[in-house]
């Protein structure tokens, strides 16, 4: 039986590059155990931490190591996805999201927010800040299965082009990246928007003005009231 360790992680050897590594952040021990198991059973390596601060420490983004980026610091374990609870003491999931998106080294990592509350302004804010997805708790296996989609394709894009920040990505890469962006838009809007591949969020905020959550027929997941619907096929602008 695990101790009440605030950090638990699996040993990842450099050769295990094909297995995705998820950094899970949640102050609730019960939720950490559940998300950890959900991820492990979905063939992910997991590092579970109990706060945003610890998450930043793990990434090497904490206050003391701020210079780590300029010194070419490479975290020992590559992170393919960050999943974080929204409501946490000291640093909320939203604040953590912002810090990650502000970092040139880590902004490409997809960040998913979990919350027990389905508050649309909260969801909007997170998406605008660059969150990949927003999951209403309790988290289920079907949610994690969906997340795997982000991670796999993100890695593929990474392999194709090193510097995504500059927006220079091959067509296939852009297509994949776009397919995995979650948007609060009508399907028609997705089709007409151009395939710009910058990583800035302004386009998301203009498109997310509609308070209603659309449910494209292509999405196989649960009801629109609980979940955002994913545009799984059509092209849409990336943020």
């Amino acid at each position: 039986m695990d101790t009440d360790a605030v950090v638990s992680f699996d040993h990842v050897s450099p050769e295990d590059s094909h297995e995705v590594h998820v950094l899970a952040v949640d102050d609730s021990l019960v939720d950490r155990k559940v998300i950890e198991r959900l991820l492990k059973i979905s063939a992910c390596k997991v590092t579970a931490v109990d706060s945003g601060i610890r998450a930043l420490q793990f990434l090497g983004l904490d206050e003391q190591r701020r210079t780590s980026e300029s010194e070419g610091f490479v975290p020992s374990l590559k992170v393919d996805l960050i999943i974080t609870d929204y409501c946490m003491p000291e640093m909320t999931g939203y604040e953590l999201l912002k810090k990650i998106k502000e970092s040139s080294m880590f902004r490409e990592i997809p960040v998913v927010i979990m919350s027990s509350e389905n508050v649309l302004p909260r969801i909007d804010r997170c998406l605008e800040e660059g969150a990949e997805d927003f999951i209403v708790k309790p988290v289920k296996l079907s949610d994690v299965k969906r997340l795997k989609g982000y991670m796999t394709t993100t890695r593929e894009v990474k392999v194709g082009s090193h510097d995504r920040g500059s927006g220079v990505v091959d067509d296939v890469g852009v297509e994949i990246e776009i397919n995995n962006k979650r948007k609060l838009v009508e399907e028609e809007e997705e089709e007409t928007s151009d395939m710009s591949s910058s990583s800035s969020p302004p386009s998301v905020s203009t498109l997310s003005s509609s308070p209603s959550v659309s449910s494209p027929s292509s999405s196989p997941t649960s009801s629109p009231i609980r979940r955002l619907k994913m545009s799984s096929s059509s092209s849409s602008s990336s943020d």
Binding site: V30, D31, K33, V34, R37, I41, S116, K137, P138, L141
Partner: protein, 157 residues
């Protein structure tokens, strides 16, 4: 005959589970937890639930302490504890407990002390019931595992 015993216990377990679902004590999230249990993690559900019990008792004590204060209660702090309790309860599929937390939180939002006290009593009662039922469930499961684990190569009786 032991194989027969294991079957009876299995039926007991399912009957209890069905009852708990029917009563709304548990919801499908509990089933989700069961799906996460396998040979690699054979005690997952009881492990998580025991963590839940441990945390819940602390939270309930905190809530009672805060509401019993002679001075005006710190509703914000109560709300924080409640959110935690609500979150973990919903994560294990404890539906009735979660629902009472929602009502409790509404009373907190209105700084309604009497309402909060009533909600706390209901919460304690409901939590107690849940704990007893889940203990019962785990006991049956343990018995079944014990019984099923004894092998009789040939039934000579």
């Amino acid at each position: 005959m032991l194989g027969f015993g294991a079957d009876l216990l299995w039926a007991d377990m399912n009957r209890l589970l069905a009852f708990l679902f029917h009563q709304g004590v548990l919801d499908e999230q509990f089933l989700q937890l069961q799906q996460l249990q396998d040979e690699a993690s054979p005690n997952f559900v009881s492990e998580v639930v025991n963590i839940y019990f441990h945390e819940s008792e602390k939270l309930l004590n905190n809530l009672r302490g805060l509401l019993m204060e002679k001075e005006l209660s710190d509703y914000k702090k109560i709300g924080i504890h409640l959110n935690q309790f609500m979150g973990s309860s919903s994560s294990i599929g404890a539906k009735r407990v979660t629902n009472i937390c929602v009502a409790f939180r509404a009373a907190t939002d209105q700084s309604n002390r009497a309402g909060c006290l009533r909600a706390l009593e209901m919460l304690e009662h409901e939590y107690c019931y849940l704990k007893n039922k889940l203990h019962e469930l785990f006991q049956i499961e343990q018995q079944r595992a014990l019984v099923a684990g004894v092998r009789y190569p040939v039934q000579n009786q």
